[in-house]
């Protein structure tokens, strides 16, 4: 049973539809990276999942229940941090922990002090005096201490320096419970997600352009380099090779291809470019894939590239 299930979700803000007929699901145990350009509606989607905004249409189910029908006990198993969410700055960290702990039956005080130590946070400082990175760590601490079954994070790494990002990831991986949890992480910056996520979704134009396991994605998208033996202008790749982006110059072609399976890519390329001296096929990086997808979405809605 998927932990998060969204069907036909629409959210209208005035006349603009930020989310259009959105469908996606996050299976149990996944670390799901929700990617998409700035302003693509990721934050709105996450706020709807958390019940902070009401959808205009469609359905959201969390842990099998309609999200509006969740009991408090179930809600206490969901952790949430958001870049824009204001922690009560007037509180000291220890006061915030004291405020939150009784609300969660599963609050683990040992884990909380462990994370506090790892993050180097002084519990007696007021939250508003902490730096941005420290505040994000405090937020992560508050979200992780109750050992949630579902963790929803909205742009946790944005604006953090490399050291803080590292510490956040460490803290996250360290608290991954042995019982297993599900994480939904939204970001416009791919960075660390490439290695962390095992499932990826791409939100652009108010819709999920794709949503699939990371392995499958990496299998599908390949970067190919074709080096001709001479300086001739290479032929076009052709429609059979669904290229997301192509660069051609004298003597070489570089392309990002969404490979649909069927004939092995190697052979297909060799057939098309018989005279090539070298054909290189390697995994495309997540960044390459999403830049190409974002460009396509921006230039007039994308043709669905789902497998």
């Amino acid at each position: 049973m998927p932990v998060i299930e969204v069907s036909n979700l629409t959210y209208r803000y005035g006349k603009v539809a930020a989310l259009r007929d959105l469908d996606f699901a996050v299976p149990q145990g996944a670390l799901y990276a929700l990617l998409g350009p700035n302003g693509s509606g990721k934050t709105t989607l996450l706020q709807i999942l958390m019940g902070l905004r009401r959808p205009s249409a469609g359905r959201v189910r969390l842990m099998g229940e309609d999200s509006s029908a969740l009991t408090l006990r179930e809600r206490a198993t969901i952790g949430y941090i958001a870049e824009g969410q204001a922690l009560p700055g007037w509180m000291r960290l220890e006061q915030l922990e004291a405020y939150l702990a009784p609300l969660y039956p599963t609050w683990d005080a040992a884990l909380a002090s462990d994370l506090r130590r790892r993050f180097g946070l002084d519990p007696r400082r007021k939250i508003q005096t902490l730096s941005r990175g420290e505040q994000m760590k405090a937020a992560l601490l508050c979200a992780l201490a109750p050992r949630p079954r579902l963790l929803i994070m909205d742009e946790p790494f944005t604006g953090m320096d490399a050291l803080v990002k590292d510490e956040l990831v460490q803290g996250l991986l360290e608290s991954a419970g042995s019982e297993g949890w599900t994480v939904l992480l939204a970001s416009h910056d791919i960075g660390e997600l490439e290695l962390l996520a095992d499932r990826v979704g791409f939100l652009a134009g108010g819709r999920m352009q794709l949503s699939e396991p990371m392995d499958a994605l990496k299998e599908r998208f390949k970067r190919v380099e074709i080096i001709m033996g001479d300086d001739t202008e290479p032929v076009a790749l052709g429609a059979a090779l669904a290229a997301l982006s192509v660069e051609r110059s004298a003597g070489r072609v570089s392309a990002l291809i969404a490979h649909a399976g069927g004939m092995p890519l190697d052979a297909a390329l060799r057939a098309r470019f018989p005279g090539a001296t070298r054909i290189e096929v390697r995994d495309a990086s997540l960044r390459e894939i999403f830049v190409a997808l974002a460009k396509r979405a921006a230039s007039g809605g994308g043709r669905e590239v789902a497998a």
């Binding site: 958390m50 905004r53 009401r54 969410q85 609300l103």
Partner: protein, 515 residues
């Protein structure tokens, strides 16, 4: 954590979060209480609006509390935590009631107690003040829930109630329906204020619950919010006015017959003049007056003419004293007669030329009884505090022609149904009448009140008011020559009475014609 435990948990957090705000608020409350207790430091005019400051400060405080855990902001911290929305709302409401309303209420009760206000009146005043204040706070909570920050709240606070207030006030002034008017109460005042209260309080609470639980589209909610606020404002400002109903039948009130005479004086040069005369009744113990009077004239040509009489005194009364007291100045003996020239318009004057065959006087008659409220030795500095009323004789001058004494009278109440026998200016509060009684010699003298200045002061919260009047007493011209010796005055006591509504009934009598 159970629902109830969460309410307490949030309340504790709120007290911690708002502690500085609370301290300032309690400071304002203490100043208002000091003013109500009449501490000398607070008698400055700057403290005049203490009660208003309390209400405004309280409104901002509850707005702060509501917005600390906003029900509409999508970045609200509490909304992503497992807190019952109903528990969150309940915590805010309880804190508003217990602390924000509670603190000034304690001050008010203290001030009322030191003024010896009787317990029944005290609980009535306190509960009315608390209810009014709670309504203001509910308005603030609704507006704060609908706005994202204090700046937005302030903007809306100024705009909406001011606009609505103007609407209310402008429709409340048709014809002297302020206070206890005997004229027809304004149209709004006859609507049941109870329905406003129910709609306002109910609507406000329903709206808050909906906002906290459902997070609906804000735009739609504004209609409901404005409606609830309007109802609350109406319930605050429109006080229940008793309709001009009869109170006691005429036989119960035992009004003896009054002789009316209608006189028409023709004059070639000026238009005909219509005068209504009465042969007054001397009722020793009550005042009788005609209100909303109408003279129905049956004319010789068969038509009927209605002329408004308005108000007219029908008797005089003295203050109740022990038997055997002789009232100086013949005050008690004169048989009062009254005459009033009735105002006619052009068509009425034309109609009168036909001549009057008969006349009937109709209207409402009000009966007032005097009640002694205080007796003081007649010397400067004497004072008495009883049942929320305080009288203090400030100066006494035996010989001056114009001023015999100055008094300071203050009384505590809300709105009462007592009338000034002159009916010149109707105070919503009792207006005493004065006499000097010399028991030793068995003589008494009515003393006229000339002029008074007054001020109204709220006691910590609006709803309980202290009205302070300074009254200047002087002797009537009639007995200027009497009793000028200081000894007479030294022996006498100042008796203060108030007039209490005994009854009101319809009245009808035939008038005789006098040519």
């Amino acid at each position: 954590m159970t629902w109830i435990a969460q309410v307490g948990h949030v309340m504790r957090k709120d007290l911690l979060q708002a502690r500085w705000f609370l301290i300032v608020y309690l400071g304002v409350v203490m100043l208002a209480t000091a003013r109500a207790l009449e501490w000398p430091a607070t008698s400055n005019d700057a403290f005049d609006l203490s009660a208003v400051f309390v209400v405004v400060a309280g409104m901002f405080l509850v707005a702060f509390l509501v917005q600390a855990d906003s029900p509409i902001r999508s970045d609200a911290f509490w909304a992503s935590r497992p807190i019952h929305p109903a528990a969150m709302l309940a915590a805010k409401l309880l804190l508003a009631l217990i602390v924000v309303v509670g603190a000034p209420l304690v001050g008010q009760l203290g001030a009322l107690t030191t003024n010896h206000v009787p317990v029944a009146a005290m609980s009535l005043l306190a509960s009315r003040s608390a209810w009014t204040y709670a309504s203001w706070l509910l308005i603030a909570m609704v507006l704060a829930a609908m706005t994202s920050d204090l700046r937005g709240f302030t903007t809306v606070l100024v705009a909406i109630p001011v606009a609505l207030g103007l609407v209310i006030v402008s429709s409340r002034f048709p014809s002297g329906s302020i206070g206890g008017g005997m004229s027809e109460p304004g149209r709004l005042a006859t609507l049941m204020p109870v329905s406003f209260t129910v709609a306002g309080v109910g609507g406000g609470l329903v709206l808050l619950v909906a906002l906290y639980r459902k997070r609906p589209l804000r735009r739609r909610m504004w209609v409901g919010a404005v409606a609830a606020v309007a109802c609350l404002l109406l319930s605050i400002f429109v006080t229940p006015q008793s309709r001009a109903a009869s109170l006691g039948s005429s036989s119960e009130l035992s009004i003896p017959a009054v002789a009316f005479q209608v006189e028409v004086r023709e004059d070639e040069r000026t238009a005909p003049e219509l005068t209504l005369r009465t042969e007054g009744i001397q009722l020793a113990d009550r005042l009788v007056g005609l209100d909303s009077g109408v003279a129905i004239l049956r004319l010789r040509d068969g038509t009927t003419l209605r002329v408004s009489v308005g108000r007219m005194a029908l008797s005089r009364a003295t203050l109740p004293t022990r038997a055997g007291i002789r009232w100086l100045g013949g005050y008690a003996d004169a048989r009062p007669t009254g005459a009033k020239v009735l105002r006619l318009n052009r068509s009425q004057r034309e109609a009168l030329r036909a001549g009057i065959a008969g006349a009937t006087i109709e209207g409402q008659v009000t009966v007032l009884e005097p009640r002694i409220v205080a007796t003081l030795p007649f010397r400067a500095g004497a004072s008495l505090t009883r049942e929320g009323r305080r009288v203090r004789i400030q100066t006494v001058n035996h010989t001056a022609e114009d001023s015999l004494a100055t008094l300071s009278v203050s009384s505590i109440g809300s709105a009462s149904r007592v009338f000034n026998s002159d009916w010149a200016f109707i105070w919503p509060f009792d207006t005493p009448r004065y006499a000097l009684v010399n028991e030793t010699r068995g003589e008494a003298m009515m003393v006229a009140q000339g002029g008074s200045g007054g001020s109204t002061d709220a006691i910590v919260l609006p709803g309980a008011w202290r009205v302070t009047t300074s009254a200047w007493l002087h002797r009537n011209a009639e007995y200027f020559d009497l009793a000028k010796n200081a000894a007479w005055f030294d022996e006498s006591r100042l008796v203060i009475a108030e007039w209490v509504l005994r009854g009101r009934t319809a009245f009808r009598a035939e008038a005789t014609l006098r040519q």
